[in-house]
């Protein structure tokens, strides 16, 4: 689609979001809770915290819920009755809008989309993705943990967003980059004033600190390098980095219930757990935490990129900020880029 550009006053943006809510959209925005900020459903515009750099968790759960029912079953005798779980997802007719997220979070959508559709089509994901409209706000001031610029994005990138807002004083510039975005604002066009691309302030020249290709180059050749074992002695093997990550998508499939009735579900899972690859025989290909953290790096910066020509990382830095033992992935990736 040809991009369209608009200008909207801060007060009109508020009106716009409030109208979305009253028109039955589920609006998800950064929201203060227990002294931190998380994505959550808002009932009015003022509940959204648009000043925070990034909420503590990503909004991945709106694409890949923590637990998803794949199907429900009931058994009588030798007969098994299976009720497709997809029905419940398509039943969620109410459309969701993610409002006030950052470009890095938005970029995670298309990155995950590749995994869920590269071969078999995962309709659970697709159905949710289809019904999600993403309005992001460009960052002015990334912090030290951010590295989206190195990850082929930027604090002002519109990749993955449907509408990208840029704030200036008391107004916002809106770049509508998808049909979905245009469709969303069309009923409210009176609040927007169409402008040309030239009228939007140009992106800043964001400087890279390191070259991610070099990190990949290191990972290509140094599977057995001591770095992994030494550096990740301080990793305690919790799943925080993977669970707060907007792009980590690994899951587990489990049956829950009894032999009469129950459901098959998929749950979030993490490559940082020893049990992730543990075979029933007791053999585990990834014995140490170093092996497991290496796998996370490999998956993000090598395996995924070799398949899909992009990286499985948007540089949001959540894993670093949330790590209880202060393992900073930006530092790690930079180290690796320097080692080659």
């Amino acid at each position: 689609m040809e991009e369209k550009y608009f200008e909207i006053l801060a007060e009109d943006l508020k009106k716009f979001v409030n109208s979305l809510i009253s028109d039955n959209f589920n609006v998800i925005a950064p929201k203060d809770k227990d002294g931190d900020t998380f994505y959550g459903k808002i009932d009015k515009f003022d509940e959204a915290n648009l000043d925070i750099l990034l909420p503590k968790m990503s909004y991945k759960e709106y694409l890949l819920p923590k637990t998803e029912t794949l199907f429900e079953y009931s058994v009588s005798g030798v007969d098994v009755d299976i009720k497709d779980g997809l029905g419940a997802v398509t039943g969620e007719n109410k459309k969701r809008v993610i409002f006030g997220g950052r470009p890095c979070d938005a970029a995670a959508g298309p990155i995950m989309d590749k995994v869920f559709n590269w071969d078999y089509k995962d309709e659970f994901f697709n159905e949710r993705f289809k019904n999600l409209t993403i309005i992001s706000i460009a960052c002015k001031k990334p912090d030290n943990y951010c590295f989206c610029t190195e990850m082929q994005l930027s604090p002002e990138s519109s990749y993955g967003s449907d509408i990208l807002l840029k704030k200036e004083d008391n107004k916002y510039f809106a770049a509508v980059v998808s049909e979905k975005g245009l469709e969303l604002i069309t009923p409210y066009l009176s609040l927007f004033k169409e402008i040309t691309k030239a009228q939007i302030p140009a992106d800043k020249d964001w400087k890279k600190v390191f070259e991610i290709e070099k990190t990949k180059g290191f990972l290509d050749k140094n599977f057995e390098h001591n770095y992994f074992q030494d550096r990740f002695l301080s990793c305690i093997g919790c799943g925080i980095c993977t669970y707060t990550c907007p792009t980590c998508h690994c899951f587990d499939i489990q049956d829950e219930g009894n032999l009469k009735e129950g459901r098959r579900i998929r749950n979030w899972d993490s490559c940082q757990f020893a049990i992730f690859t543990l075979h029933t025989s007791g053999h585990n290909p990834r014995v140490t935490q170093g092996d497991r953290y290496r796998q996370r790096l490999m998956h993000k910066f090598k395996i995924y990129s070799e398949k899909f020509n992009k990286y499985l990382c948007v540089g949001c830095g959540r894993c670093s900020r949330n790590c209880p033992e202060d393992i900073d992935i930006k530092e790690v990736v930079k180290d690796l880029a320097g080692l080659i």
């Binding site: 299976i82 995962d122 998508h249 049956d255 032999l259 029933t280």
Partner: protein
């Protein structure tokens, strides 16, 4: 719109107790087999106990049933172990790549299996028997720890009946019984005693990692097999089988999609992560 995680229900036709902890289960959907190719696998489960990954062990050309073999060890297999003929088993698949049966045509074939690793080998082996005229000499070498650990004992004699075919069964030293008439020795050792040449030949190897390691060495170094002509199948922990759940990736491959069948050449380029 299709839910790719939704299983089909297959009816159990027959259960063959192979050893005291392994069984082969013969299944049918709508009274017959499904379309699959040798080397592929499926996700099998008793609904309520979780899925488990097994390779098919029957020839896809035998249309009345399809089968897999399993060893009872965890929750899913314990559940399957409790089933009887007539019960339903949930099944997803077939998934993964397969043996290059076309490329094998006209070649001499060597099949090497160890323990329960014989299951996927049996599928391709019986496929080749079913199309016997397409292939050259067939040599089967199968070994297990003890006589009682040998699977498929009921079909060894059938295999021997095919023309131009040599079937060698061996057990590890100490695993023989007084009336054992087969060989005694580890699979790689016995393999080296066989009159095999790498020219115009393809070897299919599957078994425990240590057996694969030494068998590959023997085939390459002693018999002159080219790495492209040695084929094995990998087993990683899998959940979805669809290239999504992220569990089985090694190097830059998803074993469930890009595998499980790999040549020794391809294995060489993978990191030691399986």
């Amino acid at each position: 719109m299709e839910n790719i995680y939704l299983p089909k229900l297959a009816e159990i036709k027959e259960i063959i107790q192979e050893t005291n902890d392994t069984k082969t289960i013969r299944l049918a959907i709508n009274g017959g087999s499904i379309d699959f190719l040798p080397g592929q696998f499926g996700e099998f489960s008793v609904i309520g106990e979780g899925e488990s990954t097994f390779g098919f062990s029957s020839s896809p050309l035998r249309k009345e049933f399809f089968e897999f073999s399993f060893r009872t060890s965890g929750r899913a297999t314990t559940g399957i172990n409790g089933l009887n003929p007539g019960d339903k088993l949930s099944f997803r698949g077939p998934y993964g790549n397969y043996f290059d049966t076309v490329g094998m045509k006209g070649k001499n074939l060597v099949f090497v299996g160890g323990g329960i690793g014989m299951a996927p080998v049996k599928s391709i082996l019986e496929y080749c028997f079913d199309e016997r005229d397409d292939y050259g000499k067939i040599t089967v070498l199968y070994g297990a720890r003890t006589v009682n650990d040998l699977l498929y004992r009921n079909v060894f004699d059938d295999w021997k009946k095919y023309k131009n075919t040599e079937v060698v069964i061996t057990v590890d030293p100490g695993g023989e019984t007084p009336d054992w008439t087969g060989k005694v020795g580890f699979v790689p050792t016995i393999l080296e005693q066989l009159p095999l040449k790498g020219e115009n030949s393809i070897a299919v190897v599957c078994g425990p990692p240590i057996m694969i390691k030494f068998a590959l060495k023997s085939l390459e170094e002693k018999m002159g097999f080219d790495k492209e002509n040695i084929i094995t199948t990998l087993e990683n922990r899998m959940k979805c089988g669809l290239g999504k759940c992220g569990r089985c990736n090694v190097g830059s491959v998803y074993v469930c999609k890009d595998g499980p069948v790999f040549t020794a050449r391809e294995l060489e380029s993978l990191p030691n992560d399986f």
